[in-house]
Symmetry: C2
Subunit: 339 residues, 2 copies
């Protein structure tokens, strides 16, 4: 694993660097280099373990084989699983991932886009923050391949892949209605991201469809960057203030976790005192007693589709007639004992 350059190989083989380059990039035919020579060059470079300097290749070709991944927080289990699934898919194309967490900060996010762009990444996979519109518009103007994941911007025609958020919450509500729960609280974040807004909307729609007036006090919006303990406290208070509630929906995994903790503090029994469903499936929800009913996201499918859309752009695949609507995948309702 020494620093060995194409010139070294050329010297060893007694040819010019360009000849080595052609051979190693399988351009034998175009350059019409004799098979014997090609084999010789290949052999030598294999023997000394030659691998081209990616930086030089990138500078020359303008390609880095690196995709920039921007998520909210790589330590969130949802994003960790998504990142792994994306990594697995992208590996097949011989690409790598440079990842960054936005911490849900718009300025941070815009910076990361800039930084990755100037690092010449070949494409972007972004779970955008709520205030990233400007940054995304700028990015699209550069024609860099770009796919949004987990969230999207309805006004921007950017290929997006995500779970069907409305369907997920509708499934929750339908289950509640079917089981006779009529007073469902909705616990969500205060961020204005489409995915969260759609979840809330589906909650409201379901109430309306069932001719129940939406009661604003049954909706709790928790500031996203509040420390965990504060979140628990807020939920705790919310539950105490609304003893009439017979069921709760947590719109995302960490709220579900905080919710379980809050319910424990209130000494309420699930599902006798209160039934619950959380978005995102976790080991915790599966193994908790009682098992928690969840809306599980099809992470692998989302990752696969995102990579397809990304490489359609990278390879300028014409079939990529970018449809206006985001690609959505239905979630799975995993029913357990919590309802």
């Amino acid at each position: 694993m020494k620093k060995i350059s194409i010139k070294d190989i050329a010297k060893m083989a007694g040819v010019a660097p360009s000849t080595v380059s052609s051979v190693l990039n399988n351009k034998n035919k175009e350059a019409r280099i004799s098979d014997a020579l090609a084999d010789k060059i290949k052999l030598i470079s294999k023997k000394v373990g030659y691998r081209p300097n990616s930086t030089a290749v990138s500078l020359r070709t303008g390609k880095t084989n690196i995709i920039g991944l921007i998520v909210e927080d790589i330590s969130n289990p949802f994003f960790a699983l998504l990142a792994k699934a994306l990594e697995d898919e992208i590996k097949k194309h011989d690409y790598r991932i440079l990842y960054c967490s936005t911490e849900n900060d718009d300025i941070n996010a815009a910076d990361l886009v800039q930084m990755l762009f100037h690092r010449q990444v070949d494409g972007f996979l972004i779970a955008p923050t709520a205030g990233m519109k400007k940054s995304l518009i700028e990015l699209t103007e550069t024609n860099k391949p770009l796919v949004l994941i987990d969230r999207y911007y309805p006004e921007l025609k950017i290929p997006s892949v995500l779970v069907d958020n409305k369907l997920g919450i509708t499934m929750c509500m339908d289950l509640f209605w079917a089981k006779g729960y009529t007073k469902t609280g909705f616990i969500t974040t205060n961020v204005e991201q489409v995915n969260m807004l759609e979840r809330e909307e589906a909650y409201r729609d379901s109430l309306k469809k069932n001719k129940v007036a939406v009661s604003e006090k049954f909706i709790l919006k928790i500031p996203i960057n509040l420390p965990y303990a504060e979140k628990v406290k807020k939920i705790n208070l919310f539950i105490k203030k609304n003893p009439v509630l017979d069921s709760l929906i947590f719109s995302t995994n960490y709220l579900g976790i905080a919710g379980l903790e809050a319910i424990k503090l209130c000494r309420l029994q699930i599902p006798q005192d209160i039934a619950i469903i959380s978005f995102d499936d976790l080991d915790l929800f599966r193994l908790y007693t009682p098992g928690i009913t969840t809306i599980s996201q099809p992470i692998d499918e989302i990752a696969k589709q995102a990579i397809i859309l990304l490489f359609n752009q990278i390879n300028k695949n014409p079939q990529q007639v970018s449809q206006r609507k985001p690609y959505t995948f239905p979630p799975h309702l995993i029913t357990r004992k919590s309802v």
Copy 2:
């Protein structure tokens, strides 16, 4: 965010590219460029949002400001948290992370080292697989900055940062002894990684110290790449075969998870029928009923120290008198109701 090069800036300012370069790299003094001119150049490049092409800078300077991170699996909560902590620390140095998962495959791991090396990363953070010795030796011979995390190679003098694995298990055992448990089973993986071996060793040592013969049938080694359901099955069987056991230690988080599932299947009560402790603290363990006693790793401290050691090397800091022993941090025993 257009492609704007140093030449463009030079033209706009009516100077030579090299002058722009000097100014932007704060080499005004050495180049003795007038403050007025420097300010003018800075202003212009700020106004048009100029950012140098990182690829070109890298090719020229040999620095990429990218660190290669190789872990077992980014979707494992331990590594996800570690990755996030590392990202946070590394950001302060204006570096980024290119990450890869080994899937615990030695060949894969060796490939990743090669790949990252030829991508000119400025340093490596590696949680090595058991069979990575050769690859690591090769890497050290290149003098690339390198820090091992979570695991280490006793024979190789490579700076390493990890939790004190032995202490962790000793704490478990001491707690068991103190509470009167005398038949403790140990459930671990079959991989020959030092961290795992040390955990097992501590278990054996504790028994010996307390004059209890080590019973091999009380140790269960589960193949690491077995599907989750199979792991549960193995543990289930192990418990049924050894009804004499009054307590169990799970040597890593996913075994703890599988263990809870297995115990549920056996319809055993924790801690009445069997007491348990798991390595790694998870939401699941905290919120499970009963709460599971765990050995929590000081992830942030590990990340901080790893970054310190890495940048000591990158900056050729002489104080980095690479000590032979790995840097270890004591874990925290979090006692809950499971013991």
